[in-house]
């Protein structure tokens, strides 16, 4: 037996690889949040009678609320299975940095939900009557925003890990924290749809980026602490 100890980066990528493979075994599963996003954005034209102007005014709100909710829906499963079947316990006892292994899971999760979301958003925006030239802005905003959403979500997921009905509680914990992302993201989208210049658009995008960076630096530690507590 024995064999050399696995290096930290190798373990990191092993976990990412593992989660991606698990996901691709069930493509249905990680596409669901996107489908959810699509459906929710479509609900608005149904619930309100859709005149173009009104819809366009509504678009940023609808897009971002839908994005926030679907990322929330997805993040609930970030740790759940691994927690239930004892994998997290094994991670905690693996001799590797727990935080980095969990961060790897978050990264994989972002690839599987954040990126598809960002790609789906421009299409949904079109359906809500956004002009084509605005789409790049929409995409960029969601790409940046989804990073911090995933990271904030990771903390919430950790806190609600042990709990039988994490779902609803999770949203109660995560939504308030996500409000800044929501506000700046929607602002950026609104400007993009209104056809603002790159310079105007930059401001909210920078803020979104700043939030993302902040998240990357702080969230993994908080998440690891939360998960450790839930494992106790």
């Amino acid at each position: 037996m024995s064999g050399v100890k696995t290096s930290a980066p190798r373990a990191f990528f092993l976990v990412i690889q593992r989660d991606l493979r698990l996901a691709f075994r069930r493509p249905g599963e990680w596409l669901q949040p996107v489908a959810f996003f699509a459906i929710v954005t479509l609900l608005f034209p149904l619930a309100l009678d859709p005149e173009p102007a009104r819809l366009r005014a509504l678009a940023p709100g609808a897009l971002w609320v839908a994005a926030l909710l679907s990322s929330l829906l997805a993040i609930e499963f970030l740790y759940r299975d691994d927690g239930r079947d004892g994998t997290l316990e094994q991670f905690a006892l693996s001799g590797q940095s727990f935080a980095s292994l969990l961060f790897a899971k978050t990264v994989a999760h972002w690839f599987l939900t954040g990126v598809p979301l960002a790609i789906a958003a421009p299409i949904a925006a079109l359906a809500l009557g956004a002009p084509p030239h605005s789409l790049s802005g929409v995409l960029l905003a969601l790409l940046l925003g989804s990073v911090s959403l995933s990271l904030i979500g990771a903390i919430g997921a950790g806190l609600t890990l042990g709990i039988r009905r994490g779902g609803a509680l999770l949203s109660l914990l995560v939504l308030p924290l996500s409000i800044p992302t929501l506000v700046f993201g929607a602002r950026a989208t609104e400007l993009a749809i209104a056809g603002a210049s790159g310079a105007e658009l930059a401001a909210p995008l920078y803020l979104l980026g700043a939030l993302a960076v902040l998240g990357v630096t702080l969230a993994p530690l908080a998440a690891a602490a939360a998960v450790r507590i839930s494992l106790e």
Binding site: G3, T6, R21, D85, T87, E89, L93, Q96
Partner: protein, 197 residues
């Protein structure tokens, strides 16, 4: 919930904990592994408190808990690859050897979902072997196993121990271990503890 318990275990020996239900076996193992916070008392490994450098301790320790910790969607081999790989590099031959050892040859490419209760246990045992740790903490290793499977467990443990390893086993079906390598832990004085574990 366990109080006033103190023991030490030296290399080359196994310790069986056969307390009655609810006596605190699981809790004790979780505490020793550092998962559960101990209210009072200390745990030492190689003379140093494990809380000093928990990760170094975990490098030498493997915990085999109630849950087999398998991913239903991955094949048995993939399960081993990822679960063991996070700790030590192990190539496919080692993995197949381990599977053969626990009597699951031929199943390595089946999805773990298919396995019955006992078959899952066996995979967990294979993982344990691959992790190549010195100290084994086993919780009910023989649960769900048929007679032949239980024999297998005893055998694995004795080999590990004979090779200088340590094993701490919480079980309700005591394993058949040679007395020269194994002891039993006397029931601890139990006491109510504040709040749940």
């Amino acid at each position: 919930m366990v109080r006033g318990l103190s023991f030490e275990l030296d290399a080359g020996r196994a310790l069986q904990i056969t307390w009655p239900n609810g006596a605190g076996k699981t809790s004790l193992l979780r505490a020793l592994s550092g998962l559960l916070h101990v209210e009072s008392g200390s745990i030492h490994w190689l003379g140093r408190s494990i809380f000093g450098d928990l990760r170094a301790f975990h490098d030498d320790m493997a915990f085999c808990s109630h849950e087999p910790g398998l991913k239903p969607d991955l094949t048995i081999d993939e399960n081993l690859h990822f679960a063991a790989g996070v700790r030590r590099r192990c190539n496919i031959n080692e993995r197949h050897a381990a599977l053969a050892r626990v009597g699951l040859t031929g199943l390595q490419d089946d999805p773990a979902r298919r396995l019955s209760a006992g078959q899952q246990r066996r995979v967990a045992l294979a993982r344990l072997c691959l992790q190549g740790a010195t100290l084994w903490l086993l919780d009910e290793p023989a649960a769900h196993l048929d007679a032949q499977g239980q024999a297998l467990v005893s055998q694995l443990v004795s080999e590990h121990v004979r090779a200088g390893g340590l094993a701490l086993i919480a079980t309700n079906q005591p394993l058949a271990l040679a007395p020269d390598i194994s002891d039993e832990l006397p029931p601890a004085r139990l006491a109510a503890r504040a709040g749940p574990a």
